[in-house]
């Protein structure tokens, strides 16, 4: 603890929060809008899975394109905007002084989302690239890179100008996310879109991008918030924190090597999937250590922690299942099936998104200086979204498993397999609808809380308790 008693450490909400209110709320709002859009697209694509004729005459929403738009708006709309807001805010708090150059963030947010919107319309009109999680058309790439740099600038400044000297876990993850995405994105742009590699090398590079996106960007975005909020609310030191660096560097160094994850048995030399299996196994270090560090989440309460706890369990589960299903014996059942989709949703929805929801719930009251507008909407959102995501992942997993074993039986015609998938896929649609409904609750709650005119309590009476100092020897 510092002996400077006038320092802001005494108050929970400071200029760091108030000055960042508008830019960060803007990012959060953009994220939520995309969340709803991708949710609606999710309902459409999930209907198209069991009723192929649905909206088929509309070329803008034909199955392949709607699917690409759903994924893109989810990753680059919802997760990117929200995740960046969380990272900027956490880096600001840890840096100990108000974020600088936030105007850049505002400008960046506008252009990022503009670029994304143009890109989505482009996908609808047939300009998509054919790489998973990288479908944005070529022409928005450069714009989005610049916009990203502008958004991230205050975060980098806060990090380099921080007061304390050590680096905290959230620093590692936050800075890694901010710093690595541009490299990743531009490297992929280069070899996939500007001067495309030959033949199946594209699939290898595409796999590298998808897997790196997960481990170098999506996961760090969410973990930045989790590593900050969990000990902060629980008021404890993180157990096994001395191994947290090992966990971090495993993620960063090994992540990209899982690139051949989905190419088992495919037209690439055998060593590429083998390398991915090995990397997925080694990644277990990371997941185990994250689980160990953040297990104190089970000893705390509150909306944010409940979300983050859910997200962490799903995150660790994703890592474990990813490692298991990467092995060839199991992959032969799960490859090319809905099991892959289930794991993806387990990761990005039940894992990353739930952690981001938690961070959002924690952060917004500090930005606005007031609690969330409605307790009922908060709880309602949490219950409904948890239900929806569990249902979604479970039905996809069931569908994937039956599909996998059916595909192995060469006497079973594809039409027959399809018929057996119908029921789980219909339940999947119900889950998607539940998710949209849940997220609409969040949107209403968010706009009521964020917008000044809807304020119910006067900001003068601060609702925040005084935090105390963390005892270094407690464990």
């Amino acid at each position: 603890m510092t002996n400077d008693s006038t320092h802001a450490a005494t108050a929970e909400v400071t200029a760091i929060d108030t000055q960042a209110r508008v830019p960060l709320t803007l990012l959060l709002a953009a994220g939520l809008i995309w969340l709803v859009i991708s949710g609606v697209l999710g309902v459409i694509t999930s209907i198209q899975l069991h009723t192929p004729g649905f909206l088929a005459d509309c070329s803008f929403l034909t199955a392949g394109r709607a699917q690409a738009m759903r994924e893109t708006s989810f990753l680059y709309g919802w997760i990117a905007n929200t995740g960046l807001a969380v990272v900027l805010w956490v880096l600001g708090r840890l840096g100990g002084s108000p974020l600088r150059a936030l105007n850049w963030t505002v400008a960046g947010t506008i252009f990022w989302n503009l670029g994304l919107a143009v890109g989505l319309v482009g996908i609808g009109l047939g300009d998509m690239t054919s790489f998973a999680s990288f479908q944005l058309p070529r022409y928005v790439g450069v714009l989005m890179l610049f916009a990203y740099a502008a958004i991230a600038l205050p975060g980098v400044l806060a990090w380099s100008g921080r007061r304390s000297h050590g680096l905290f876990a959230s620093h590692w993850y936050g800075v890694a996310a901010l710093f690595l995405f541009p490299w990743l994105f531009s490297a992929a742009q280069l070899v996939l879109l500007w001067s495309p590699m030959r033949g199946t090398l594209q699939a290898v590079a595409g796999g590298w991008y998808t897997q790196s996106l997960w481990s170098l960007w999506l996961a760090p975005l969410a973990l930045t918030g989790a590593y900050y909020i969990v000990p902060k609310v629980a008021g404890r030191l993180m157990p096994s924190y001395d191994f947290a660096p090992l966990g971090f560097w495993t993620l960063i160094f090994i992540g990209g090597w899982t690139g051949g994850r989905h190419l088992v048995g495919g037209p690439v030399p055998a060593w590429i999937p083998t390398m991915a299996v090995v990397a997925c196994t080694m990644m277990l270090f990371h997941y185990i250590l994250v689980g160990l560090n953040l297990r104190i989440a089970s000893q705390a309460g509150g909306t944010a922690i409940k979300f983050i706890r859910f997200g962490l369990v799903a995150y660790v589960l994703t890592g474990t299942l990813d490692a298991l299903t990467s092995f060839r014996v199991i992959a032969v059942e799960t490859q090319f099936t809905f099991m892959a989709t289930a794991l993806e949703q387990l990761g990005v929805y039940a894992g990353i998104s739930m952690m981001l929801f938690g961070a959002l719930y924690y952060m917004l009251p500090r930005l606005t200086g007031r609690p969330w507008a409605s307790a009922a909407l908060t709880t309602g959102h949490r219950v409904l979204v948890s239900f929806g995501v569990v249902l979604l992942v479970a039905t996809l997993a069931v569908a994937g498993w039956t599909q996998g074993s059916d595909l192995l039986d060469s006497k079973l015609a594809l039409g027959e397999i399809f018929n057996r998938l119908r029921v789980p896929l219909m339940v999947g649609t119900a889950a998607q609808i539940a998710l949209v409904a849940a997220n609409l609750l969040l949107v209403v709650n968010f706009f009521r809380s964020a917008c000044v005119c809807c304020a119910t309590s006067t900001p003068s009476e601060t609702p925040f308790r005084q935090p105390s100092a963390l005892e270094a020897h407690a464990s």
Partner: protein, 220 residues
Amino acid sequence: MKNGFIFLLGLFTAIALSWAGIVLGTHAQLGALTPYYDDTEGKSFPERTTGIAASGQLVYADLGCAACHTQQVRRPDYGSDQARGWGERQSVARDYIHQSLPQLGASRLGPDLANLAGRKPSAPDAEDLLKLLYAGSLTHPPYKFLFEQKSIVGESSARALRLTGNLAPAPGHEVVPSDRALALVGYLLSLNTAYDYPESLPATPPAAGHAPDTKQEAKK
């Protein structure tokens, strides 16, 4: 900020290493893969794709057909691809060297298409494919927007689909596939993996050779 600089350097090394290993590594190995010249047949394989097939591949890509179809056949003892008649051998990197946008795909709600035109005993023909695209089926979405329904002026178009039953257009009208539909079908009909490369032939693991004496030894 020495500390911070080293940290950034670490991050950069991490991404550079995996990039070099996975992307540049395979590029070094396979980037210069050449077609295979068969001196018996006097030509190289895979054969160059025709213009219509190349433009059809773009249509396939922009409609996102890869959301439900793969184009990669796995080896016989790994999955049922060959037992389902999707191909007679494992797909290898050489198969794709002339393709500008290889569509390996990752989901098999529909069949694999790597060897669509070479399927035995019977591969679909252009008319089958156009009808499927126009009408769809219980399991396949229709792509009516790739076709044009118009009234017959003078003689009916040679391209018009021969549709019967409730699919038939109103009298005096015909359904004509667009250029995009024809390109797509041209592309689909170019998909075949009939030619065997040395590396695509099934390998017998040395331990489990088919010579009778090794088998007996293994039993002991």
